[in-house]
């Protein structure tokens, strides 16, 4: 059985809005509820841990009630970094396996979640090929990276709670900071992490332009009658 660890601690600094982006409406409902509704319907998820700022707990509870989210929800405090937030959530998980997802990716599908859960390996991530050129550098180009060897890593991701918690504790001791848990686990353990094909519709809403894309994706692929 799995717990959903749902990251909703973002402060929305890059979108220049008054409220964190995950609480802004897309297609008529708050961004975060789009994916929570999907996870709520997955049998392989037993409960949900939402990591968020304390002052949003009541708001989230209220929206979840209105949308009739049935799974048991626990809350954990958002940390100063994404990594701290995940660690805070991991510590209260009671199942052997965790699915980590973020509120800013509203377009995950039920089929994709079920596929992730059904894969035998304990540690699994979604990724898509990079269709553009990626270079390393600062003021000047320093290195050409071979895009055929690179992946755009997406959420949700599945991990063994034991493996990931241990890797997080090593990262704390080593004072390392990662922006993604597959990187953290890869760096701090010998566990194999399986890559499965993600979807280019599963975008992360980050900038203003993503909100425009989000409405379009919802209209064309989720709300099509």
């Amino acid at each position: 059985m799995n717990t959903l660890l749902f990251l909703s601690g973002g402060k929305g600094l890059r979108t220049n809005k008054n409220i964190p982006k995950q609480y802004i409406s897309i297609a008529g409902k708050p961004m975060f509820i789009h994916s929570l509704e999907k996870f709520d319907r997955i049998e392989g998820i037993s409960e949900i841990v939402i990591v968020c700022e304390k002052n949003y707990i009541e708001y989230i509870r209220n929206i979840c009630k209105q949308f009739n989210i049935k799974k048991k929800i626990f809350f954990a405090d958002a940390g100063n970094t994404r990594q701290q937030s995940v660690y805070n959530g991991l510590k209260i998980i009671r199942t052997p396996s965790v699915i980590i997802h973020e509120a800013a990716r509203p377009f995950i599908t039920i089929e994709e979640i079920e596929n992730l859960i059904s894969i035998e390996e304990a540690n699994v991530v979604f990724a898509i090929k990079i269709p553009f050129t990626v270079l390393k550098g600062g003021e000047f180009i320093e290195q050409i990276l071979n895009r055929d060897e690179l992946f755009n890593i997406q959420l949700p991701q599945k991990f063994s709670v034991e493996n990931l918690l241990q890797a997080h504790e090593i990262a704390i001791l080593r004072e390392q900071e990662f922006t993604d848990d597959s990187s953290l686990l890869f760096n701090n353990s010998s566990m194999k992490i399986k890559i499965i094909e993600g979807s280019s519709f599963n975008i992360k809403i980050t900038n203003e332009v993503d909100f425009i894309l989000a409405d379009e994706i919802h209209r064309e692929y989720f709300s099509r009658r």
């Binding site: 009739n68 919802h218 989720f222 009658r225």
Partner: protein, 236 residues
């Protein structure tokens, strides 16, 4: 248990739809909502199959709607179909329309469908379903003297079309049927001089509704479906 809620089930289109649906074993459970208990009992007696329960509620009292839906859910665990058929009219010109009359019309024709849909969708969104709202041709081609009725039906048309878009991702289809002149009690208020035998009958609208609920697979939801019958006028 496959369940269906029908408002305005005591007479007219609501009664005919209830009878038609029950005749073909379409649902296991029917909740008939209406303000006249005797009329609802009469409808129940005419229904052939399925468990039928009566909820004696005047939709003007919108505060009772959430409670009725939870009572139904506690018995059925799901709601597969909601038919908002009840309607109210008090035709008046602008200068004689009271606030109370305007409000009552909106409570029955707009607010109660809104509340019923909201409460039902909380459950319906799990497995999908069908919602059908009875609007009126008056909602798109208004007449003087029908201010509250026409504008309330226009609101219901717009609500239906909006919700068809919003609820599509849950597999919920929202239909909007706008009958033209139909021989109901409400029509008598709008056109008391008309011979009801010469216009469309509730059974005919019920047949259209039945077809939408049972056979349509997503080609006709999200549209204002106008149902009219050409009736030749009697030559005197």
């Amino acid at each position: 248990m496959k369940s269906c809620i029908i408002t305005g089930a005591g007479s007219g289109i609501g009664r005919e739809v209830a009878i038609k649906l029950s005749g073909y074993n379409n649902f296991d459970y029917y909740a008939l909502l209406g303000r006249n208990q005797e009329e609802l009992l009469r409808t129940k007696l005419l229904m052939k199959n399925g468990e039928v329960e009566i909820y004696n509620i005047d939709l003007i009292d919108t505060s009772k709607i959430a409670d009725v839906v939870s009572q139904i859910i506690s018995k059925t665990n799901s709601i597969d179909c909601l038919l908002n058929i009840a309607g109210f009219t008090d035709p008046q010109s602008l200068l004689t329309t009271t606030y109370d009359s305007f409000e009552t019309t909106y409570k029955v024709n707009v607010f109660s469908p809104f509340l019923l849909i909201r409460e039902c969708v909380r459950y319906m969104k799990e497995n999908g379903g069908k919602i059908l709202n009875i609007a009126s041709t008056a909602g798109s081609s208004p007449r003087p003297g029908w201010l509250s009725y026409s504008s309330s039906k226009a609101a219901l048309i717009s609500m239906s079309l909006t919700l068809a878009e919003e609820l599509a991702e849950y597999g919920i289809k929202v239909y909007c049927v706008s009958p033209g002149r139909c021989a109901t009690k409400l029509r008598v208020k709008l056109a008391p001089q008309e011979d009801p035998r010469m216009i469309m009958q509730p059974e005919e609208v019920a047949q259209v509704i039945y077809n939408l609920l049972i056979t349509d697979d997503g080609c006709l939801d999200g549209q204002n479906i106008i149902v009219r019958k050409q009736v030749k006028k009697q030559i005197l």
